[in-house]
């Protein structure tokens, strides 16, 4: 029967070409626009560490004075941690794995003559960083806790940087010049570029770039390396060493907690720490402000999907909704017009549900055709998104799941839109129609 319905559908759609064209156009535009924005949303809301993101957490402490009023011109200083707070969390050692970190940008000067120096993005961090995020070493190993304590000038390079500087040779033990200082290479990790870069500072790009080198945080402090990120200070006078003071926030901190019980314990630890600091007069805000964010929760809190993109998605969905309303009205008019044909079929023995099925098949065919047009519109839409200068733009591509989802959504929406008209059509009283034939 399905083939017969399809034949009827094709015949009927061809008879009313312009009407069909209008409906296909409406569905195509609506689906295309919605799928473009939903793809962008999917890219931006993607899980950067599938399988591990459930165990990674970001502690948040609010060290600001009670009456601190931001000027609205700069970022929120409480997003990053101060040095004393980060060190306290590190030394308390309440998590299975933990790391404190901050970004830095240094000029990498190759030892080989004839190669150009290039500014690379990297990280000052503690030795637990690599285990925390499960990074794989292709050569060498991370630096030790002792290296952290001694502020040793050691470095771990990314595979692409190592290849660029040393070709195929083993760089472990060699010296690399980062900025104004020499560092000894202790390891090389496989290239790692999570999208979005969840662990970076709020000012950094999240969908582009990757860290090329890692050096100990203590060495970074000893050598006074510039921080690439938001450095915010408050209150009066941080003295001569602002970065060690409790009045300047510039660090990020991540921990791994394997069970919900551990997460709860860590949360309580954070609250207790904040309460202690408040009692000591350092923190001004209530200890309940201290919070432990999950990885995805942290991204959501940092507005990983900017308001503009959300608004554009809503607009696309509203557009799709109007297109669907359009389709319902047109289908209703179209199907009820064919009351004579329906009544003949009913007289010949078709049941109500056969009529219903016939018209649903017709809606599905419209949906399928509209879906194909929608794919073309979405392709164009995603191309135009890729022309945008935003850092997420280059990731907006249609992949196979999205392609299939587009077609499925078009057919489903069309069939849904056609349910009411098909139902009304199947309830046409045959006798009345037959009389007027």
């Amino acid at each position: 029967m399905f083939r017969y319905y399809m034949q009827l559908a094709v015949h009927s759609l061809w008879r009313h070409r312009t009407m069909t064209g209008l409906m296909v156009l409406a569905i195509g535009l609506g689906i295309g626009a919605s799928m473009t924005m939903l793809t962008v949303l999917r890219v931006m809301g993607a899980d950067p560490m599938p399988g591990r993101s459930g165990h990674l957490y970001r502690p948040y402490l609010d060290p600001l004075p009670a009456d601190y009023k931001g000027s609205g011109l700069g970022p929120d200083p409480s997003i990053n941690l101060t040095w004393p707070d980060a060190m306290a969390l590190l030394h308390a050692d309440k998590a299975a794995q933990q790391a404190a970190m901050a970004g830095t940008s240094l000029l990498v000067t190759p030892a080989r003559a004839g190669m150009r120096s290039r500014e690379e993005q990297g990280r000052m961090t503690t030795h637990g960083f690599f285990d925390l995020f499960g990074l794989r070493f292709v050569q060498g190993a991370p630096w030790s806790a002792n290296d952290d304590a001694q502020a040793a000038q050691v470095a771990v390079l990314s595979q692409s940087l190592a290849r660029r500087l040393y070709g195929g040779a083993d760089p472990v033990g060699r010296t690399v010049r980062l900025g104004e200082h020499d560092f000894r290479v202790v390891g090389v990790i496989q290239d790692w570029a999570p999208r979005p870069m969840f662990y970076v500072d709020a000012a950094a790009q999240r969908f582009r770039g990757a860290d090329a080198f890692f050096v100990p945080l203590s060495a970074g402090m000893a050598l006074d390396l510039d921080v690439d990120g938001n450095v915010s200070s408050w209150g009066s006078g941080s003295g001569s060493d602002p970065r060690h003071s409790g009045n300047e926030s510039w660090l990020q901190f991540w921990v791994r907690l394997d069970t919900p019980a551990q997460a709860d314990a860590y949360r309580r630890f954070l609250h207790n720490y904040a309460a202690e600091q408040k009692a000591a007069g350092r923190f001004g805000r209530p200890p309940s402000r201290a919070h432990l964010y999950s990885l995805m929760g942290w991204l959501a809190a940092r507005d990983i999907v900017p308001g503009d993109v959300r608004l554009q998605t809503l607009l696309a969905l509203a557009f799709f909704g109007v297109c669907l309303l359009n389709i319902v009205a047109l289908l209703l008019a179209k199907y009820l017009r064919r009351s004579a044909e329906i009544s003949v079929r009913r007289a010949l023995g078709a049941r109500r549900r056969d009529i219903f099925a016939q018209f649903c098949a017709e809606s599905a065919l419209i949906g399928a055709t509209g879906g194909l047009l929608g794919l073309a519109v979405a392709g164009f839409g995603l191309w135009s998104v890729r022309q945008r200068p935003d850092d997420y733009a280059h990731l907006a591509r249609m992949d196979l799941p999205m392609l299939l989802a587009t077609l499925a959504a078009a057919i489903a929406a069309s069939v849904l839109a056609g349910v009411l008209p098909a139902w009304r059509a199947s309830h046409v009283a045959p006798a009345l129609q037959l009389k007027s034939l």
Binding site: T18, G72, V322, L325, N326
Partner: protein
């Protein structure tokens, strides 16, 4: 034109009519809000920078090896740039408006204003402000093309060397924007007044306002109430990297920009190049607003798409109804209705449907705006958009129904006599 028969005949197509009314209402709501958002964004994109933008180019110098005392080099660079053919003016600056970066300082017009700010722990008190601060070397006002409306440009002896790490030198004079002047000195002329930045108040050594410019925009735009509040200090920037402003005639700009970039490369072989190291100001400004222009484009495309689909829907449905009612149109013609009366009937019927939808849509627009205000921090929709949106949709509906209505009017009376 009697409305009752129209409603009676529409009753037979209740569902379709309701769907069409709903569609028109949603379209009206979305288009009204979209139009408002577009106007908002266009205002933002159009803010004046205060500079004479045509013919202005900006070059940056990042070097591989930082010089601890670079100022001499930078000033020599500016002299060399001035010697290039086609260069009308050149100067050293530390930044420009709308560059996506900014130095902001808290300043106060006097000691009591500062006390107020301290007590309230914010700069948002009368007499104090937090403007963007630009510093520049000799010739900066001319090179940037700032429009002085009061006072004078800096004298050559008023320029002081700046300090490392973006610290300002001890300059005595400042030029401020008109908006900043109005904020700091609302009831007196700003020229000749004193203002104090941070440590100045302790030393008692303030800066004197010597000139006011029409506009000087911030480096980054945030709150609309803070727009256009900026000041220029005659402190020659001696930072790790330098920014040069070069003015030429618009027709020479491309050539001058390339020549200037080559000059800097020749003078500094260790210059780090990037695609941002030599740009026209127009390009810089376009880059800054690229998100907004994308949004404007998208909103316009969506609004037009919605109107298009709605017009298609109205036209398509009307066309279908005309086909369905051929017989009854024929009968009306047969009993004496003229072509014009049939045409007017269909136009009026359409106006009734679309009009109802538009009025509902206006109400829906207000609701939608409230929703957007809560979740996306958008401003309130001005009342003027509602009748405009409703009228626009009615006009659209009438245009869409014209062709089907004409076809209805063309139905000959003889159709009434046929039985098919």
């Amino acid at each position: 034109m009697p409305v009752h028969p129209m409603i009676a005949s529409l009753r037979r197509h209740r569902l379709t009519t309701c769907l069409l009314v709903l569609q028109v209402a949603v379209t009206c709501a979305v288009v009204a809000n979209a139009a408002f958002l577009i106007v908002q964004r266009v205002h933002r994109v159009d803010v004046p920078s205060g500079l004479a933008e045509s013919g202005l180019s900006i070059l940056t110098l990042h070097r591989l090896h930082a010089d601890p005392h670079p100022l001499g080099q930078y000033l020599a660079d500016v002299d060399a740039l001035r010697g290039l053919a086609g260069v009308q003016a050149a100067a050293l600056v530390d930044g420009v408006p709308l560059s996506n970066g900014e130095s902001a300082y808290g300043i106060c017009a006097g000691a009591e204003a500062f006390q107020r700010a301290r007590a309230a722990r914010t700069m948002q008190v009368p007499g104090c402000a937090q403007p963007a601060v630009y510093s520049g070397g000799p010739g900066v006002v001319r090179a940037l093309g700032l429009d002085l409306v009061a006072g004078r440009d800096f004298r050559n002896d008023e320029y002081v060397p700046g300090k490392a790490n973006f610290a300002l030198g001890d300059a005595d004079a400042v030029i401020i924007s008109r908006a900043l002047a109005q904020r700091l000195y609302p009831d007196k002329p700003a020229v000749g007044q004193m203002l104090y930045m941070g440590a100045d108040l302790h030393s008692g050594h303030g800066k004197r306002v010597v000139g006011v410019v029409a506009h000087l925009q911030r480096g980054m735009l945030r709150k609309a109430s803070d727009y256009d509040q900026a000041m220029l200090v005659p402190s020659e920037p001696a930072n790790g990297w330098a920014v040069y402003a070069v003015r030429s005639r618009p027709q020479d700009q491309a050539r001058v920009l390339a020549a200037a970039s080559k000059l800097l490369d020749a003078r500094h072989p260790d210059r780090l190049g990037s695609d941002r190291s030599a740009r026209t100001y127009a390009q810089m400004r376009a880059d800054y607003f690229s998100r907004d222009t994308t949004m404007i484009g998208l909103l316009t495309a969506s609004a037009l798409g919605l109107l298009f689909v709605t017009a298609l829907g109205i036209g398509g449905l009307a066309s279908f109804w005309v086909q369905q009612r051929r017989r009854s149109i024929g009968i009306r013609r047969a009993v004496g209705a003229s072509r014009n009366q049939i045409l007017r009937y269909f136009m009026a019927e359409n106006l009734l449907i679309v009009g109802t939808g538009a009025v509902l849509g206006a109400g829906l627009a207000v609701l939608l705006n409230l929703l957007l205000m809560r979740h996306y921090e958008l401003p309130r929709l001005p009342g003027a958009y509602l009748p405009l949106g409703a009228v626009a949709l009615c006009v659209l509906g009438q245009l869409a129904v014209m062709a089907p209505a004409r076809r209805a009017a063309a139905v000959p009376p003889v159709v009434a006599t046929r039985s098919g």
